[in-house]
């Protein structure tokens, strides 16, 4: 039987408007760009060959497009038994199973080595829906990523499904 952690509809509604801001202490480097590319088997010379990338319309090495939306800087927070680092849970303020329902990535400007990223996550909508597997709260967050010059690099509109209990 599944050990599902649920929240109440009221707890879910209270998440609306919640914000989290994060500021990286260190710049993006070619190291993470190449490790990410290698992880997904991406040998595109845009990530591997500075000469090729420099002559391309990109003008230099850039990160694979979705790397931005995977960045996390919560490196010093302990990771729990479920494998999740504490920061997000603490921010959410409740212990609940999270399931991804969708991501909508807007890529405004490519990430380049040297970018120091900050992001702001905000819950912009909470909807209750009944599905085949019970009632869920669909939490829509907007995560806005900027660099050290305040330029917006990308926006992730992320939908998480949280199982609801009867309370």
């Amino acid at each position: 039987m599944s050990r599902e952690k649920t929240i109440s509809a009221r707890q879910a509604r209270d998440l609306l408007g919640k914000e989290m801001i994060f500021q990286a202490s260190h710049p993006i480097g070619e190291e993470i760009i190449r490790r990410f590319a290698a992880t997904i088997g991406d040998w595109n010379p845009l990530y591997w060959d500075a000469g090729f990338a420099g002559k391309s319309p990109y003008g230099g090495i850039t990160a694979p497009p979705t790397l931005l939306f995977e960045l996390t800087y919560d490196l010093q927070t302990a990771i729990g038994e479920d494998g999740l680092y504490g920061g997000f849970r603490k921010w959410l303020g409740c212990d609940v199973n999270l399931q991804r329902a969708g991501n909508d990535y807007e890529m405004i400007q490519p990430v380049v080595p040297g970018d120091i990223i900050s992001f702001r996550r905000r819950v912009v909508d909470v909807q209750e829906k009944k599905g085949k597997k019970g009632r869920f709260a669909f939490l829509l967050s907007e995560v806005r990523y900027t660099n050290q010059r305040g330029e917006v690099l990308g926006i992730d509109r992320e939908t998480l499904a949280l199982p609801l209990n009867e309370d």
């Binding site: 490790r35 992880t39 845009l46 996390t72 038994e81 909508d104 990535y105």
Partner: protein, 136 residues
């Protein structure tokens, strides 16, 4: 590949991914996402999954790779949207595919929209998505 040659209905050259425990561990490591259902069979079971389950954001990484393998340095992805329809598991073979749904070059902005799919080996749809690509 040239923008001028792209027509509505054209397929995006697809790619296949075998979901392996090593691949999933690598993705957990690089994204600092150690959610245990991605690599621990028993733990995944307690959450109601059949086995270690793919981190959905990994589909985004592979869909983006499929698109950039195709467009190379001639354009860039401007938007990638995904809806996760069903979980994919360790041992699955995923097919990533796409189809051109729209081509436009209004006011010199050369742009295409593609419909995207991820399916497992039995044809079950795992992801429905779409992407906007701008050409330089």
């Amino acid at each position: 590949m040239k923008f001028e040659d792209i027509k509505v209905g054209d397929p995006v050259p697809g790619l296949k991914q075998d979901v392996t425990i090593i691949g999933m561990a690598m993705y957990c490591g690089i994204t600092w996402d150690f959610a245990r259902q991605h690599y621990d069979h028993q733990f995944a079971g307690t959450l109601g999954y059949e086995g270690p389950v793919v981190d959905p954001q990994m589909y985004g990484a592979f869909l983006a790779r499929m698109l950039t393998d195709w467009i190379a340095e001639k354009g860039r992805i401007r938007r990638l949207a995904m809806r996760y329809m069903a979980p994919a598991y360790l041992g699955d073979t995923l097919s990533y595919s796409g189809k051109v749904a729209e081509v436009s070059s209004e006011q010199g902005n050369r742009h295409i929209r593609c419909e995207l799919f991820v399916e497992e080996q039995k044809g079950r749809v795992i992801v429905k998505g779409s992407a906007d690509v701008l050409f330089f």
